[in-house]
Subunit: 432 residues, 4 copies
């Protein structure tokens, strides 16, 4: 199987984390799947992803002290493999695992994803648990110094032991059996130390062996640009940023990251700007709230993600989506860029503004996006004479007529379009 065919365009979907944190349950998953099938599917949205600690008992019950309760119980089979917490996922009982939920989602024409932490449960290591298809025990392959610094559930595995690959093979076989289409693997993308680099290889080998084209997504970022070729060879998506939330500073910072990765966006290979904190979020974090991003900032976010072609995962509770947000994520002209554009390039960026351009691969069109970083409404000025600013390919387009895709406004020329006012922290996306 060619892993680049698992995700020929950037994955689009919903992820439980921004709203549910560790408390996501069966009911929430189904409700969001229902909503997506009915309202978003036709615009390309298709993945339903269950995020962190679906296996943890009483997850979220000590939220004042811990996000992840240390030294607490997890649901596990006799082969050291984590299973859904039966309290939150009743359909998983009796060995069914996530199969019933996967079936439910597939029946709606959607795809199903889960989150896992890199490694093997600490509890399995302490209890000297077995590994399917190997004589080794969990305590043999677990490396006690190979931990995640923000989650206490797992130990990384020792990369050159046969039991380690057997363990990854065994969990991937289980996920394939369940019908998983997408795994988001955490504590692996930064590859700061330990075996994360090798575990990426083991994961892709396990996917190849399981026979199901499971999309491999790596978190958290920032990914290392000097390892770009490694991600490109073994994974489908990799986070180029630490967790992204609804703060302007983080959004502004994403422009630097997209500049860095602009020449690394290809079918099956998607640098990932992280979830979209739109709509209603934060509930299980103790402060449910509508996104703190202003409307122009939301436009900026969606414009950048679309032009750059980042995967797009909605972080909100879908059933609480307001009309204005809904209209943004169902703008077909913009969403089109994820599947039908390529060759995106940053034309210029300074402290006040940025300009990107990209191309339509099906129709003979160019897109130019202009971003206003200032704290006030202002002109986006394109200076044809500034040598560190001007780009011949944009200069040539200045006399062409164009349409702005968020407002629908038509312009006689790109020059006049670029001379129009943009809101503070806002953006314009022109099609020429």
């Amino acid at each position: 199987m060619d892993k680049n065919l698992f995700a020929v365009t950037p994955p689009m979907g919903w992820n439980s984390y921004d709203y549910y944190d560790t408390t996501v349950d069966e009911k929430a998953v189904k409700a969001n799947a229902d909503y997506m099938a009915e309202n978003l599917k036709e615009f390309g949205w298709e993945y339903i992803v269950i995020d962190i600690e679906w296996y943890a008992h009483e997850a979220g019950s000590k939220r004042d002290k811990y996000q992840y309760i240390p030294f607490w119980g997890v649901e596990m089979d006799e082969y050291s493999r984590l299973l859904p917490d039966p309290e939150r996922f009743p359909s998983s009982k009796g060995g069914a695992g996530f199969k019933p939920i996967a079936d439910y989602i597939h029946d709606k024409g959607l795809k199903f994803g889960i989150h896992i932490m890199r490694g093997i449960p600490r509890q399995a290591a302490a209890e000297h648990g077995k590994i399917l298809g190997s004589d080794m025990l969990a305590c043999d392959i677990a490396d006690p110094s190979n931990i995640c610094f923000w989650n206490p559930d797992m130990y990384g595995v020792r990369p050159r032991l046969s039991g380690s690959q057997a363990y990854y093979d065994s969990i991937m076989a289980l996920y394939a059996e369940w019908g998983v289409d997408f795994i988001k693997v955490d504590d692996i993308c930064r590859m700061d130390m330990y075996s994360a680099r090798e575990e990426i290889v083991m994961l892709q080998k396990a996917i190849q062996k399981c026979g199901r084209p499971i999309v491999l997504s790596l978190s958290p970022g920032p990914a290392k640009i000097e390892q770009a070729w490694h991600y490109e060879k073994y994974a489908n998506m990799w986070r180029i940023t630490d967790d992204f939330w609804d703060k302007w500073e983080l959004l502004l910072n994403m422009f630097e990251r997209c500049e860095l990765w602009q020449n690394h966006v290809n079918p099956g290979c998607w640098p990932d700007c992280d979830m979209l904190p739109l709509g209603q979020i934060g509930a299980a974090f103790g402060h449910e709230h509508p996104t703190n991003l202003t409307y122009p900032e939301q436009v900026t976010m969606l414009t950048l993600w679309s032009v750059f072609r980042s995967p797009m995962m909605l972080g909100c509770e879908l059933t609480k989506l307001d009309d204005r947000t809904l209209s943004l994520i169902t703008n077909a002209d913009v969403m089109r860029l994820l599947s039908c554009s390529c060759g995106a390039e940053q034309v210029m960026r300074n402290k006040e503004q940025a300009i990107w351009k990209t191309f339509d691969i099906e129709e003979d069109a160019v897109y130019v996006a202009a971003f206003n970083f200032r704290d006030n409404d202002s002109l986006t000025v394109y200076d044809e004479n500034d040598c560190t600013f001007a780009d011949e390919e944009v200069t040539e387009l200045l006399d062409e007529p164009c349409r702005e895709l968020w407002t629908g406004r038509e312009y006689d020329s790109l020059r006049s379009a670029l001379d129009d006012t943009v809101e503070a922290h806002g953006a314009r996306l022109f099609r020429i």
Copy 2:
């Protein structure tokens, strides 16, 4: 002009530095051009490049104390532009510059290149020199804190001043007039600080304005991988290493660099492994000697450069080439890879060995290169079962017959070929 068309395959040629240091003169240049035209041209070798300090008076005369004599005289026109030292380049007198030498080289069907240092002469700044096409003076655009740390000739220029672009335009116009085909710009590639990044843009703008397709080569390295897109947009070659010399440690180290840059090799965009210290080198450094690389190490170097498709510049005095070295650089089967292969990828690398593969774009062939890093003759063992080692695309080829391109030996299968002994620090290049 599309700068990617200036060098659609990796440039191949000769450079004066490794043998002549700062002392290169007209006679040496012509002798090497004569030799190349007669013996090497048909194998793809075509550039003749004059390296550092062709403008410096008495260059090399205090070699016991300085490589570059500080606070000494340079040849300069009234517009702060450096000219060839008339002592060493008599044909340049009377305002002819390098035109006579360029003509000589072009007449032989070869191409002509020169080296320059980033910036404007310190002497011009001290003397408040003029700039062609600008009211500003050298002292206005020179930045006194923007220096090269190993050469005392120049100051970097202030990037946002019109006089700075005018200065670069003026020198490039002069070089176009002379007939320069290639410039190697020094003290610019690492972009550690200062204006190097902007000066790269100014140089390419000046090339576009001068109307001549001059190849832009950047030194010294290591180039920064996080700026790959910047090099790719504005330059043709960029050094991915500091100066490379005839030492095994440096050659071994190049494998790490090629791993890093393997996905950045494209027409018009050539990560550069630096000059080939083959044959007779080091004369003006005070220790003329045949290369310290063993014959197997030379094979390793040429195999890596060829598979990776690095530009190749011979550092030796060509007229002193021995037969064995000559046979290496005129192996047409190997040299073919520079123009006719693509998609090179490192299959594996550890402390003992490395394997690369690449593809022929004209014929239906695959190349597999095996390198032995050990200090003794040994087998290159390809382990199909090691998950951090095996590559499906190589495994599929194991039963195919193949030919080794340095020895001409034929093998029944790649498996048996990979099982053969390789010399200490040596390499094999198989065509399948």
Copy 3:
């Protein structure tokens, strides 16, 4: 001579920089000397220091573009030694140098200091100038890559050449002749690279040879704590911070630096917190203004400098001092700490507050200083039970009566004193 005897207590005085930048002249120097002799001397203030570019022609005349005009003229004798600019220092004409000014200052019972940049003038190197007492020329000892990054006047010297020591000996002999008591050497304290470390040794050797006990002060910081022993062996003061100005963030940051250096304060060895930006400052920078520090912040600054025993140099124009500022710097009870305390130690510091204590060496007294870092008036709470907070030696004092030195207020016990409100960013200094 034992250099530790040159400054047995931290030097106190006035420095021209914060008000005059590069434009200080003879008249200003004398006016400030007059004021100090009359109003401040009795409280320990005694040094009058002329800061940067007293040798530069037209210094400050292009202030919109440059702080230091590059490639411009400097006053220099035949031995490459800088002399006072005769336009600004008329008494220096005819070879008198700074002697007349030094005499004027000495006559008032004060001491005289000057600022110099590390190294030899770039102009001397370009002109191949001579060096007194050596056959070498300026171009022999100047190192072209050894520059200051913010000032274009000098090149550092090559450390192992006899001409380099001769040069330093020659300038120090000249300063001794003039009657200089204090030199502030710039571009030398951070010792980031080059020869700064060796030039410190050469400077102290030159001082020893000149026979005059000239205090050696090193700038700019931050000094490297891992070289503490080197500063302690060869210098009298070294800046532990980059330039300090009238901003709360910089003042807050100084607490971290004082923590770092607290065990390195000794007679003749003074970690230096930089000039006091009190009163009227900034004139030649184009924005004359009263200090931006609030009154409580000024109290915090003077309390920290006094307890830590930093050298104290007033940056303001003394003749424009207002009464409130004057009362601060003439509080004899506080100023006493510079000469009569020792053993200062940070008891605790967190984001909200800090506590220091020190001892009086002549009288049986302890000082406790409490600082409020919060942005509002608040209590300084000393928690006897917090293990990361409490200090036995302070806990023992809690029942002792005490007096606050800025307000003069008396308290029954240190416990009640520490429970009192402190203004936002303010401080209390208790004597027990």
Copy 4:
């Protein structure tokens, strides 16, 4: 209690690690104590220290795979406190702990030390163990991300919880009960991250509370010079190096570390160069061998440790000491420096040699040590005219007569002594 009085001179003794690794047992401890009492005590040697994993079951039994067996059993009381492994320390059974061994050692006039790892056992956290004197449980105070990277036994504790101090109080009370005089705390000195810094404070508070003057020694290094004041306030010794073994490169490197810390050596505050790998070592590491240091290197080591006044802990099996080694460590003239010298200072150091000097505080003597770093026997040349070399205080002594303390040789003058040949990697220690 003033912790500086716990170790007014640098501790001298024996440590089990270099020979026994994790396998030290009761018999070995007693045998070494017997030997010390009889042969070394009179020269200042007095501590017997049991190093790592005295609490671990089957320690050392899987030495081919692990130094420290992960996820294995440890001996622990009901309050999460580690106890001696009864298999190896039979006298500890029935709740006696290390008291019988401590008594045995004290009866011989020696002192008793143990090693501990920072934090609370992982096993206690997993089992939700109790803490003496607190309602909190081990799982409340253990921080799952706060681990040691080379030993899997413990979790660091959360610094601001009352249960954390209670835990440290409880173990220190137990050690005081046993009669422990010295604890070497590991995984704490580098303070790279986590709570190590706060745990140092908690340890000293626990010592103060336990009422016994237990020397606090911190490992492993290198300690951070910027935290010198923190070590000085709370500990008695801190390692300035990572583990030191019998390799010349490590010994050479120690000169850099001693330079760095030379002004931080004071009563109760001892920068620590680590154990002395003399005699017979390495047994439980699987390669028992005599030290790889040559005799001159051993002299260099002991000279540096003595002049610098590092604590000295013998790493070898004492009962196997050969005569030559014994004579080194019983040279009373040299050992005297640990208790009777002060003010040691590095006079110079380059790639070829180093010179230190120090003073005797009881007798009017100066010591000068000369070290030869070259790989051949050579002269140690003191150049009175090299400004980066010469030290006035040494120059003054050149005409004084002196005696070399290792050879007993007498010299007419220090000048002639310094002119004598020193063996490759050897040293001379002159008393003047």
